[in-house]
C-alpha cells in the first residue's frame, strides 16, 4: 500500500487521479471528527467535501515530511470553524444537565441519554478545546500531532486538553455520579 507521502509525491508529479486514494483513505474518519464537532450529517458532508477540495488545491503547500493526515485535519478543522462561524448555534447545556439530574438517584444514566449529554457538553466547550479533545480522544493522536493539527505549541495542546477534560468532568458530574464508574470505552 502506498504511503500518504508517496501518494502526495505522485499527485504532484502529475498523477492527479491518485487524490481519490487519499480521499477514500481519510473521508470516513474526518467525517466522524466533523460530526464530533457537532455538525449534523449534511453539514459534516459539506465541510468534508470542501475540506477535500481545499486539500487538493493546496497540496503543494505540505512541507517536506509533514504527514498528510495531520495536515488534512488542520484543513478540516479550519473549514469546520468557518462553517460554524457562519451558522452560530447555541447549545442548551443546562437543559440537558437538568434532565440528567431528574434521573433517580442511584440509577445509572442510560447510554442514550449519556450520549446526548456528552454531545451537548462537547458543543459547549470552546472550539479549540473541542478540537483538541476529539483529536486526542477519538483520533488517538499524540499531543505532538494534535499541536500540529491545531497550529499550537505542544505544551499548549496539553494545557487545553487538561482544561477541557476537567470541564467535561465537571459538567458531566451529575450523570457521572450515578453512572457506573467502571464505564469503559468499547
Amino acid at each position: 500500500m502506498r504511503t500518504d507521502k508517496q501518494l502526495v509525491d505522485e499527485i504532484l508529479a502529475g498523477a492527479t487521479e491518485k487524490f481519490s486514494v487519499l480521499a477514500e483513505r481519510y473521508q470516513q474518519q474526518v467525517y466522524r471528527f466533523l460530526r464530533g464537532m457537532n455538525l449534523d450529517h449534511d453539514e459534516a458532508a459539506d465541510v468534508l467535501q470542501s475540506s477535500l477540495i481545499r486539500a487538493y488545491e493546496k497540496l503543494d503547500t505540505i512541507r517536506g515530511g509533514e504527514r498528510f493526515r495531520v495536515w488534512f485535519y488542520t484543513i478540516a478543522a479550519n473549514q469546520a470553524r468557518n462553517y460554524m462561524r457562519r451558522s452560530r448555534r447555541d447549545v442548551a447545556l443546562d437543559d440537558v444537565v437538568l434532565s440528567a439530574e431528574d434521573q433517580n438517584p442511584g440509577e445509572a444514566l442510560d447510554r442514550e441519554r449519556m450520549a446526548a449529554l456528552v454531545a451537548v457538553a462537547l458543543g459547549n466547550l470552546s472550539e479549540d478545546q473541542r478540537k483538541v479533545v476529539l483529536l486526542r480522544i477519538y483520533q488517538e493522536m499524540p499531543f505532538s500531532e494534535v499541536a500540529q493539527a491545531c497550529g499550537i505549541s505542544h505544551g499548549n495542546s496539553k494545557v487545553i486538553f487538561h482544561r477541557a477534560l476537567k470541564t467535561l468532568a465537571r459538567w458531566l458530574a451529575p450523570a457521572m455520579g450515578r453512572m457506573d464508574l467502571d464505564y469503559k470505552e468499547r
Binding site: I11, L12, A13, G14, A15, T16, E17, K18, F19, S20, A23, E24, Q27, Q28, Y31, R32, F33, R35, G36, H41, A45, L48, Q49, L52, I53, Y56, E57, K58, L59, D60, M114, A115, V118, A119, L122, V133, L134, R136, I137, Y138, F143, K158, F161, H162, L165, K166, L168, A169, R170, L172, A173, M176, M179, D180, L181, D182, Y183, K184, E185, R186
Partner: protein, 210 residues
C-alpha cells in the same frame, strides 16, 4: 475533583504522559487512595463517553462515500490540477493520444480474453474490438475488465503515459506505426476521437478507481 493528586498530574497519568518512576508513584498512590481512585475512574469514564459519542454516530451508507468521492473527483483532479504539479501536459486534453492508448488497451483486452496468455483458455474475441461503433459505456466496461483481468492498473497507466510520450515526440511515423499495429480498429479510433471530454474523463476515473 478534590484529591491528593493534582488534577493536571492525574490527567497526565491517565493519558500515559508520565515517565516511568513518576507513573509508578501515581499508580501506587491511586491503588491505595479511594478518593484518587474514584477521581481517576471518573476521568476515564468521561474520556470513554466522549470516544463512544463519536463512534456511536450512525455512519452513512456506502453510496454516500462513493458519491462523495465522485463529487470530489469532479471538483478536483477531473477539473484541474493542484498548484505545483509538474507534468508535460494534460492527458485529458490529448484526445488523439488517448485514442491510441485506448486502441492498445483494447488490443490487450482482446489478447487476454482470447486466451493469448493462457493457451488452455480460449475465449471469444472481445466484442468491443470488432464493433462498428463504440459507446463510451462499452469502452469504460472494457477498460474496467482490463483492470480486473490483468490486475495491473499500473501497467495500463504506464502504457498510456508511454503513448503520451510517443505523441509528444516530433516523429509522427511512430504515431502511425502504433495505429497500424492493430488494423481494423479505425472505427474504434474514430469513435474515441469523437468522445466528449467528459467521457474521456470517465474512462480515466474508472481506471483510477480500479
Amino acid at each position: 475533583m478534590r484529591c491528593c493528586v493534582d488534577d493536571r498530574v492525574m490527567i497526565e497519568y491517565l493519558e500515559g504522559e508520565l515517565e516511568g518512576p513518576a507513573a509508578a508513584e501515581i499508580g501506587q498512590h491511586v491503588a491505595s487512595c479511594d478518593e484518587c481512585h474514584t477521581a481517576l475512574l471518573r476521568l476515564r469514564a468521561v474520556r470513554a463517553a466522549v470516544a463512544d459519542r463519536v463512534r456511536d454516530l450512525a455512519p452513512p451508507d456506502e453510496s454516500f462515500w462513493k458519491a462523495n468521492l465522485e463529487s470530489v473527483a469532479r471538483a478536483t483532479w477531473l477539473k484541474s490540477e493542484p498548484a505545483g504539479v509538474v507534468r508535460r501536459g494534460r492527458l485529458r486534453k490529448l484526445a488523439p493520444m488517448m485514442a491510441v492508448a485506448a486502441v492498445l488497451l483494447l488490443a490487450l483486452i482482446g489478447a487476454l480474453r482470447t486466451g493469448a496468455f493462457n493457451p488452455d483458455t480460449r475465449r471469444p474475441e472481445v466484442a468491443v474490438a470488432g464493433a462498428d461503433t463504440v459507446s463510451a459505456e462499452a469502452l469504460v466496461d472494457s477498460l474496467y475488465m482490463l483492470a480486473r483481468l490483468a490486475g495491473q492498473y499500473q501497467m495500463a497507466w504506464r502504457t498510456m503515459e508511454s503513448i503520451e510520450e510517443i505523441g509528444s515526440s516530433s516523429d509522427s511515423s511512430l504515431y502511425d506505426e502504433v495505429e497500424m499495429t492493430y488494423p481494423g480498429t479505425g472505427n474504434v479510433y474514430d469513435a474515441l476521437l469523437t468522445m466528449e471530454d467528459e467521457q474521456v474523463e470517465q474512462v480515466l476515473y474508472v481506471l483510477a478507481s480500479n
